[in-house]
């Protein structure tokens, strides 16, 4: 009995959390461009400065 009510509350809170996250994502413009991020994640952030790898190659 009380377990079900407890579950309902958890359900609402969890789903509400996702709703807030979704609204935040929309408001922050994450849905404005649905192509570039898919490519962007493939870019290397900073190429490693050390020469270890290229040394090994030679």
């Amino acid at each position: 009995m009380s377990a079900i009510i407890f579950l309902i509350i958890i359900g609402i809170v969890v789903a509400g959390g996702f709703l807030v996250a979704f609204i935040w994502a929309v408001k922050s413009g994450q849905y404005d461009d649905d192509y570039s991020p898919s490519v962007r994640m493939l870019f290397e952030n900073k190429p490693p400065k050390d020469e270890n790898l290229s040394d090994k190659k030679q």
């Binding site: 079900i4 009510i5 309902i8 359900g11 609402i12 789903a15 509400g16 996702f18 709703l19 979704f22 609204i23 929309v26 408001k27 413009g29 849905y31 404005d32 461009d33 649905d34 192509y35 570039s36 490519v39 962007r40 493939l42 870019f43 290397e44 190429p47 490693p48 020469e51 790898l53 290229s54 190659k57």
Partner: protein, 796 residues
Amino acid sequence: MASEKCVHCGADCGKAPVSWNDKPFCCHGCKTVYQILNEKEMGAYYQIQPMSGIRIESDGTSKKFAFLDNEEIRANLLEFEDGEVAKVKFFIPSIHCASCIWLLEHLDTLNPAISFSTVNFPKKEVYITFNQSQISLRQLAELLTSIHYIPEITLDQLEKKKPGKNNRSLLTKVGIASFSFLNIMMYSFPEYLPGGDLLEQEFKNIFGWLSFVLILPVVFYAANDYFLSAWKGLKHKIISIDVPIALGILALFIQSSIVVFSGKGIGYMDSLSGLVFFLLIGKWYQGKTYEALSFERDYKSYFPVAVTRIAEKGEEIIPIKNLREGDIILVRNQELIPADAMLAEGNGSIDYSFVTGESMPVPKKQGDFIYAGGRQVGSSIKLKVQKEVEQSYLTQLWNQKVDHQESETLDNHINKISQYFTISILAIAFAALISWLFIDPSRAIFVFSSVLIIACPCALALTIPFTFGSTMRVFGRNGFYIKKTAVIEQLHKTTSVVFDKTGTLTLNRKNAVQFHGEELSQQQLGLIKSVVRHSSHPLSIALYNNLENPEIKNPDSFEEIPGMGITAVFQDIRINVGSSAFVKGEAQPETATESRVYISVNREQLGYFSIGNSYRTGLEKVIEDLGKRFDLHLISGDNDAESQRLRALFGPKAELLFNQSPTEKRDFIKKLQSEGKNVLMIGDGLNDAGALAASDTGISIADDVFSFSPACDAILEASKFDQLSRFLQFTHLSFWVVWISFTISFLYNLIGIGFAVMAMLSPLFAAILMPLSSVSVVLFASLSIGFLAKRNLKIA
């Protein structure tokens, strides 16, 4: 020429691939990436500093972006500024693949003053954060230009408000509706299970109240557009499709609230939230349009931002809106003439191709009046401004906005149907109410609201967004971009098609070139090609593109005399290319159908190249197909030199009008409309702008859809011109799909109403029937459009 695949990213290279080491690339971004990979060997790709391989092509002489040094313009363009840090947004039409994003997002390695750059791919925009004390806005624009991403900066951007956030608020509504929908479903579920009626009263209350709380934002926020637009329609005495929807939502809400308040369960809350959710999804699907394309361009997006004024102190760059009558301005090669003006100094050679579609420049002498909108080709000229930008002839034409009745809320098929629909629903509901008052008065209200609920035309309302939305996507993939789905309906109703000639039926750039005279040797052809290579005159470009493969040499001396021709020396050979006055020493009367370029080698006259207008490929077929179904007309700003040829093409019935001014073009469209015709206008230049706006559907033809085109309802890629009649035909198929979907949803409604009037509509039945009808209509519409597109358009 068959287009090749880019070596790096596999994209289509188009007509002019960038090549390096004999390999084709679609863009300089890909070429650069490939160069780096190649130079450093593949394995080292991630260890090198990005961009180390880039050679920045500097073009120090260019003053293209000099206006960015002007304080007023700079401040207007910057999105954000705080001390040294500034943020700017550039529209770069050439962004088109992943390598472009890579290159543009690594600008910081090219210049340390740039701290951050982000690309918005669908909008083709790049946002750059940079340090103003180290790099000026102008240098930034020049840096982008040097890596072949030329920012397009127009007057429009300076004045534009912040972009609308419509899409965002719609997505938020979808999110809220889906949240409520899924949760309420969970609370409704126990009632639908066998033995659900044994549910304890306590739970019924809790579930009911929770659903009631969850439904409030759905009804009052997510669905508010339906109430607003239904109300707006009613105020104009129009019963739009939104009226029965709003009625249905209200009936569902009130009925269910009564159930909740009386503690009997949760009523139709799940159906209500589901209904709103599906409707919003349909709206979102329909609203996904082409963000990088602009259909609303006016003169502001065409004219430059600034102009060079010659003042007492010397040259200064001023924003175009500060230009006053009587100012002397300097217009350099390839710059636009921003206002009606008089030629004060220099040789004018004005290319009006954007205005009229005609690519041959018009020569102008000192003292001649020059209309705004042309582009100077050749040496710099000085102009005395006669009218301010706002008052110029062309601008005036643009500003004469025809009050286009928004067909979205008026007079379209769906709204006509919905009028009958709504009236019959109300009739049925009241009839049922009255009959039940006699049979069992306690259930009369329940039956009344049940009819309104089940008749809510959810499936009906989803038909149009999904059918036309899919059609729009199919068209887009085939190079025909329409502004909004209502355009499909207008296309379908077309009875007359009006063409512009120059630039629409004839080709802008590719011309038919023929040589008249003694046959030229391979060596002579090579020399001619080498000479015209250095000239930016359209005739030179046409010649250069049409001479096949001869060997290119660099001339020892070269001189271009604007408006006359070119003279060049190769060792002991002097070669003259140009007008007859220049080459032969005597002027020949100009012919209307072709331009001539005369050639002499060592003062010996060899003959001339004739460069004629050539018609678009597939023109005969398009005219023939369209002629079967529509009455065709032609309005041209040109003379009637080609009227015979066009008459043969268009047949005896068509009206062919020549020497038409932009205003006359517009009036012709209006005349056709007053005869009850539904007019489709196809044009390309600014002089068609009035006609395009006045017509029921205006299609503008563009070689590059992202470059400038006048305001219109649809943009057609020039290479897809031969598909035009297929597109028009396809709108009829779309309408068939709509009618069949309507029938399906009516059948569902009939069944539902049957149950409702018999007072047998249970929440479970509603919860199954409503989504089922919506889903089946959506599936039918999308799938059949996809199937039809595969069969009827070349590429799906």
